[in-house]
């Protein structure tokens, strides 16, 4: 069934568009004027001003590796993150710790740990899957580079970003 829409009856002035145009102009010019006097503050000037202090606790920035209270690198290269990573951004080369290493009990460590930040989708599955509390998504988010190679974070860079994290479970204690 056809529905008849009741059209408004416009006066001549309304039909000439002009009052509406001038009302509109007064609104837009009002905004213009307020902006020119610096009364409106909406935009944040990004690199100079940042919102970092407002980032939520669960913010997911760049993934990075951490060391613990004893200076031990947490990662034992179990490669679960490499397995779970949806865009396959992580590449790990496992290695074996020497007998003389202070943490020789751990036996295994990542010889190389690479995250291709061009591929990374910041999903946080690596952090979720990690059984060693070794990889965390930091609050850092401004990752830039001028080459593809620069965008691949290697182990050194990952530990630089991750730094030291305290209060982690110490399951590799030699006495345990």
């Amino acid at each position: 069934m056809a529905i008849t829409v009741q059209r408004p009856n416009l006066s001549l002035a309304e039909r000439s568009y002009l009052p509406a145009i001038f009302t509109g102009l007064s609104i837009t010019l009002g905004h213009l004027w307020r902006m020119m006097r610096g009364k409106t503050h909406v935009t944040m000037q990004y690199p100079e001003q940042k919102w970092d202090s407002h980032l939520p606790e669960h913010y997911r920035g760049v993934p990075a590796l951490v060391t613990d209270d004893y200076g031990r690198e947490r990662c034992v290269s179990c490669q679960l993150c490499e397995f779970i990573c949806p865009p396959q951004a992580i590449t790990i080369t496992p290695g074996e710790l020497g007998e003389n290493d202070p943490f020789a009990k751990v036996e295994k460590f990542p010889q190389e740990f690479k995250i291709d930040m061009i591929r990374c989708i910041y999903c946080g599955l690596c952090e979720e899957v990690c059984p060693e509390q070794a990889i965390y998504l930091m609050k850092e988010y401004a990752v830039t580079g001028t080459t593809r190679a620069e965008m691949v974070h290697d182990k050194k860079k990952l530990y630089e970003i991750g730094g030291l994290k305290t209060g982690l479970v110490d399951k590799w204690d030699a006495n345990k």
Binding site: V76, S77, C78, Q79, L80, E82, F83, P94, G95, E96, K105, V106, E107, K108, P131, E132, K171, K176
Partner: protein
């Protein structure tokens, strides 16, 4: 056949069947650690506990029959292990009951009491029975508050094996394997109770040629392979069914590879060939394909005597052009029984296209060990005979070829996968020979002297078939890609024959096999896919 009752259902099973097999087949899967169908049953892991019952006997010592005509069961009031008993007439089994579930949970808890829970660094993770069964039958948290027992870790058992005693669950599979299969009684338990440790005999390394099978047998990560240790997690590995090419036994294998790198080779069950085992030598004999020295650049000798890298197509043309300059009796062909049937067929075709009369393969006699290692080190001697590249006495013509080359009667040598110097050719003569065509994987004296060098593919990189020493036709499958620059051997040979005017028209290995099946009566009616993963027995069809 005997009648037994499994989970309330009466079935017939062959006499002599282990109860665990019968229950797993007709009921539900029974978890187990120590039991292995190819080994004896000590019954020491206690994981396979089920409820059993025997027929209820009347006063006349005859079974009391129930409504369906089957005997009524009198259940044994406690759980029994089912891995150590054979089935008997009228026996009843229950693989699922509240009692059994409790038992399994309890056994799992005991097994995990002293387990280090270091799955993150354990190579077994992903194919570990402890992980699988604790997910299925175990519980999530531990009630154990005491100190765990400390045991030796990272024990160097032998040249190829590392032992972590803390992970060991004392199933004794490895001990039984070394005793019963490898006949090298090298392993054993020492200490008692929860301090029991697995050790090798003092002062004697666990070094027999079958030691790596214990790594496969170990249901947990206690025994690990030094070669594979910490190299790659097993869940990344792509599994390709193939065949070992290290001797004429042709053990069935699974190649584990990831991103074009082979990480390990494990035996694949084939009761006609290798049961579930393979020797350490064959298992580790794939690293040469990933060697830095691997040949990946076709070379051709230029007019000025220097050798220059050329594309494969150009190298094959160059080889044909060089061969055209010689009369058939000035050319010799040394083929290899390490080649597949398909390659050998084309080698035979090449020999006949050139009209060469001097050709043979290099035999590789070696001592057999009575277990798996065969006396013939070539994996495909039967194939070479079948394709008429070798006589019934392989290597008979090699000394003649070597002499003719050394005397200068033969001026052109085609070496397919073999080193001419190993066949008796004088290296100095070889270096000055006007035409040496070499199809090879790794550098040797012949490739150094080659006027045309054709880099080929290794056994993990190609498809094809081989006939093992017992006349079984088996199939190789491609696990990884051929390195850039190198070519598939059969394609190189096909192109060479085509360039020599032999014609071809074959574009796939399947087509090639079909053509072989037409030409070789022993393979009549077969195709590559018909061979299947377990191979086909051609013993009767092959001429003695």
């Amino acid at each position: 056949m005997v009648n037994i009752q499994v989970d309330g259902k009466w079935v017939q099973v062959p006499k002599g069947t282990r109860a665990i097999e019968a229950v797993s087949k007709h009921g539900t899967f029974v978890p187990h650690y120590c039991y292995h169908p190819k080994l004896s049953s000590p019954g020491n892991c206690r994981m396979c506990l089920i409820e059993m019952g025997s027929p209820k006997m009347g006063p006349d010592r005859k079974p009391i029959l129930g409504a369906e005509g089957y005997p009524e069961t009198s259940w044994i009031p406690r759980p029994q292990i089912c891995c150590a008993t054979d089935v008997a007439e009228g026996m009843a089994y229950r693989s699922h009951s509240p009692l059994i579930d409790e038992c399994r949970k309890g056994v799992m808890e005991f097994l995990l009491i002293n387990h280090p829970l270091d799955c993150t660094i354990c190579d077994q993770a992903g194919e570990c029975h402890l992980q699988e069964f604790s997910v299925e039958f175990g519980q999530a948290d531990s009630r154990f508050l005491e100190e765990k027992v400390k045991k030796p870790k990272k024990v160097d058992l032998g040249p190829r094996i590392v032992l972590d005693d803390e992970r060991c669950i004392m199933c004794s599979r490895c001990i039984r394997f070394t005793q019963e299969i490898a006949h090298d009684d090298a392993l054993g338990f020492t200490q008692r109770g929860s301090h029991t440790v697995l050790t090798a005999y003092p002062g004697r390394p666990f070094a027999n040629n079958y030691s790596l099978n214990t790594v496969d047998l170990c249901p947990v990560g206690a025994l690990t392979s030094k070669d594979f240790r910490f190299k790659m997690r097993v869940w990344f590995l792509k599994q390709t069914s193939s065949v070992c090419t290290s001797c004429s036994t042709g053990c069935n294998t699974t190649i584990g590879s990831r991103e074009n790198i082979v990480y390990r080779q494990t035996p694949r069950e084939n009761n006609e060939v290798n049961s579930e085992w393979m020797c350490d030598h064959g298992r580790l004999n794939f690293h040469f394909l990933q060697d830095e020295m691997r040949l990946t650049e076709p070379l051709a000798r230029q007019a000025d005597g220097s050798r220059k890298p050329v594309p494969m197509k150009r190298a094959v043309e160059e080889a044909a052009a060089q061969l055209h300059q010689f009369k058939p009796d000035e050319i010799a062909v040394i083929a290899s029984a390490r080649m597949t049937n398909e390659e050998l067929y084309l080698a035979g075709k090449l020999i006949r296209t050139l009209g060469v009369t001097m050709f043979d393969i290099l035999p590789r006699p070696q001592p057999a060990d009575g277990i798996l290692v065969s006396a013939d080190g070539n994996p495909n001697t039967h194939g070479a005979r079948l394709m008429k590249v070798a006589s019934d006495d392989p290597g008979r013509y090699l000394p003649i070829i070597a002499r003719k080359v050394n005397e200068g009667a033969i001026k052109a040598l085609i070496c397919l996968g073999e080193d001419a110097t190993a066949c008796g050719v004088n290296p100095d003569v070889l270096a000055t020979l006007p035409c040496v065509i070499s199809l090879a994987i790794l550098p040797n004296m012949t490739t150094a002297a080659a006027t045309v060098l054709l880099p080929g593919a290794g056994f993990t990189e190609k498809r094809g078939s081989m006939i093992n020493g017992k006349g079984r036709l088996q199939r190789l499958n491609r696990a990884v890609e051929i390195p850039a620059g190198a070519g598939d051997d059969w394609e190189i040979l096909r192109d060479l024959i085509a360039a020599l005017g032999g014609g071809n028209g074959i574009y796939t290995i399947e087509e090639l096999f079909k053509q072989i099946a037409v030409d070789a009566p022993a393979l009549a009616g077969l195709s590559l896919s018909k061979i299947g993963d377990l191979g086909l027995d051609l013993k009767d069809k092959l001429s003695p």
